[in-house]
């Protein structure tokens, strides 16, 4: 028996149930999905949320940062200013200038490395193309600034973060990346070693060949000196 207005009442029953159970129900279906902010708005970026159920998960990506190994940012900086990411960046929001020492020789470090976060679209292409794993995505989102024009243009020193910080925000990815780098390094050393070994062998072979060549060469030059002495 179709009561007049039955559809409306059914709809209202659903919303009322949702309203009431959102207060009392802890299971997934009715619980409030949005949680509090990850951390206090004023806290410095370095401080990570103490509570576990943060809204910032291990897979949240925001804007790129530069990595450096060890404590000294400029000492352990991975970026060598090869400018691949500058060329690959679709919105062209990265600006790099190479660093030169006094004699003008190019030392593998960026003098200027600027990323304009207001232009960056977090596409992560720079992370993929970087051969030196020097640039990764950060998950810090409290980036609002007062002035609109220069505020979001981050310079090299603001971008530089320690590898250890990277491990804290994206543990699995950082570990995977470090393992891969370690493995590549091992391979390179192995290849290097193999190459050295090969080179050494080649050198020995060449040396042996030269000795052999010298032995065979004196006979033809002194055939008269008494044949097989």
């Amino acid at each position: 028996m179709r009561l007049l207005g039955f559809g409306i009442l059914k709809g209202m029953a659903v919303t009322l149930e949702n309203f009431v159970r959102s207060y009392f129900d802890r299971d997934r279906r009715h619980h409030l999905f949005t949680k509090e902010y990850a951390w206090e708005p004023g806290a410095p970026a370095e401080v990570l949320p103490a509570r576990a159920d943060t809204t910032v998960t291990a897979h949240s990506r925001n804007f790129p940062i530069l990595l450096h190994d060890g404590a000294d940012p400029m000492g352990g900086i991975r970026c060598v200013a090869c400018q691949i990411c500058e060329r690959e960046c679709p919105p062209q929001c990265i600006y790099i200038e190479k660093d030169y020492d006094e004699q003008g020789k190019y030392i593998k470090r960026p003098a200027i490395f600027d990323i304009d976060l207001s232009v960056c679209m977090s596409c992560q292409i720079c992370v993929e193309v970087c051969p030196f794993d020097a640039i990764v995505m950060d998950s810090q989102f409290e980036l609002s600034t007062a002035n609109r024009f220069g505020g979001l243009l981050q310079h090299r020193d603001q971008l530089l973060k320690s590898n250890e910080y990277y491990h804290r925000i994206h543990p699995e990815e950082a570990r995977a990346r470090d393992d891969r780098m370690a493995q590549e390094k091992a391979e390179k050393e192995a290849k290097q070693a193999a190459a050295d070994a090969a080179k050494k062998k080649a050198a020995e072979a060449k040396a042996a060949a030269e000795i052999a060549a010298e032995k065979s060469k004196p006979e033809p030059s002194a055939p008269t000196a008494g044949g097989a002495a």
Partner: protein, 377 residues
């Protein structure tokens, strides 16, 4: 002369201050309830400056909104009608404020002379109520016209058409109660409901539903908020308003909601009557406000559930469904009151009303026949 002035002030000021602060509370209530319906938390971030309280469930959000509205720049279009542009929000605020005095809300300390907190214990209170609320339609049109903007004029005209066509079922359903109570004095109507609230009689319930639906449309709320919906013609008639004038419009709208639901409580839910009122007469004011907020909860609940009506559905619903039903309800109530045999007139009345409603809604289904498309050869 000064005594009467003091008396009036002693009643008018709490009305104005009380209902304005209730407005702030209702905006918070509305956002919290809507949020909870949609599995979110609702405003809870604003904290009182310079105090320890961090986040009082967002109770300070209305104050923050008010401050923001004050701080916002008040932009007036260049060739707008300056005078009318300023006058529209004021005219949308004055009628609800005036009408609030007509409600039989007994403030506890009201002097014995003014038994019911009615600044104007008028004899034809209900008629004056509808006369003054019809001024709202003017404010809406004035806002639409004064902004010299095609879309706000269109939005204004649509809002005026909607408010005018929903005013008739509103008045007719109130006429049923006036007939039953035998007078238009709000106090007399509350007295007449001492034995039994009008909502518990079949024709009373039908009148209450029609009144409630028509009041939703009258204050541009929930399913009928087409004129001011963001997704429709921009924001309807107050597109060109910003800053405090915009806030005045909202204050006017919420006061209109209080006024109309206050009248619904007086007409159908027995005004300030409730348990223990005999023991503590002050409780009648609490009961009155509690019932108003119950109605407001239903309005917010409807807003969280029902989708918005199209213009033609909106107008069709008013003229083809509500109006004939309220006319029929008038006859049924007259017959029931004349017959005065509840055991007979109630079931018959309920049956007639329900049958008419089903017949009316089914008769409109007819024109929703499957469309026939004709393609160009």
């Amino acid at each position: 002369m000064t005594q009467t002035l003091l008396n009036l002030l002693a009643i008018a000021v709490p009305l104005a201050v009380g209902f304005a602060s209730l407005f702030a509370f209702t905006t918070w209530l509305e956002r919290k309830i809507l949020a909870r319906i949609q599995n979110r938390i609702g405003p809870n971030r604003i904290s009182l400056p310079f105090t320890r309280f961090r986040r009082l469930f967002g109770l300070i959000q209305p104050a923050a909104d008010g401050l923001k509205m004050l701080a916002k720049e008040d932009i007036v279009p260049r060739d707008a009608d300056k005078l009318l542009h300023l006058l529209a929000p004021i005219l949308s605020l004055v009628p609800p404020m005036m009408v609030l005095c007509l409600l039989p809300l007994e403030l506890p300390y009201a002097t014995a002379g003014m038994r019911a907190l009615q600044a104007a214990a008028l004899d034809n209170a209900v008629l004056l109520f509808f006369a003054i609320t019809s001024l709202n339609t003017l404010a809406v049109f004035m806002a639409g016209w004064a902004s010299r903007n095609k879309y706000s004029l269109l939005g204004g005209m649509r809002a005026v058409a909607q408010m005018v066509s929903y005013e008739i079922p509103l008045v007719l359903s109130a006429a049923v109660v006036i007939m039953a109570a035998g007078g238009m004095n709000a106090q007399a109507i509350v007295e007449a409901q001492r034995a039994q609230w009008f909502i518990f009689t079949p024709w009373g319930l039908a009148a209450f539903l029609i009144f409630f639906i028509a009041s939703l449309a009258e204050t541009n709320r929930s399913p009928f908020d087409l004129p001011e919906a963001e997704s429709e013609i921009i924001a309807g008639y107050f597109t060109e308003y910003s800053g405090f004038k915009f806030a005045l419009f909202f204050l006017g709208e919420y006061l209109a909601i209080f006024a109309v639901s206050g009248l619904a409580v007086t007409l159908f839910l027995g005004g300030g009557a409730g348990p223990w009122v005999a023991a503590y007469p002050a409780l009648s004011c609490v009961w009155f406000l509690a019932k108003i907020f119950a109605l407001i909860f239903v309005m917010i609940w409807l807003r969280g559930t029902l989708p918005r009506l199209r213009v033609d559905q909106l107008m069709g619903f008013a003229w083809k469904f509500l109006l004939p039903l309220s006319l029929l309800n008038l006859f049924v109530a007259a017959a029931a009151l004349k017959l005065a045999k509840p055991w007979l007139s109630w079931p018959v009345g309920a049956l007639v009303l329900y049958g008419a409603a089903v017949a009316l809604s089914r008769s409109h289904r007819a024109d929703a026949a499957p469309r026939t498309y004709s393609y160009a050869e």
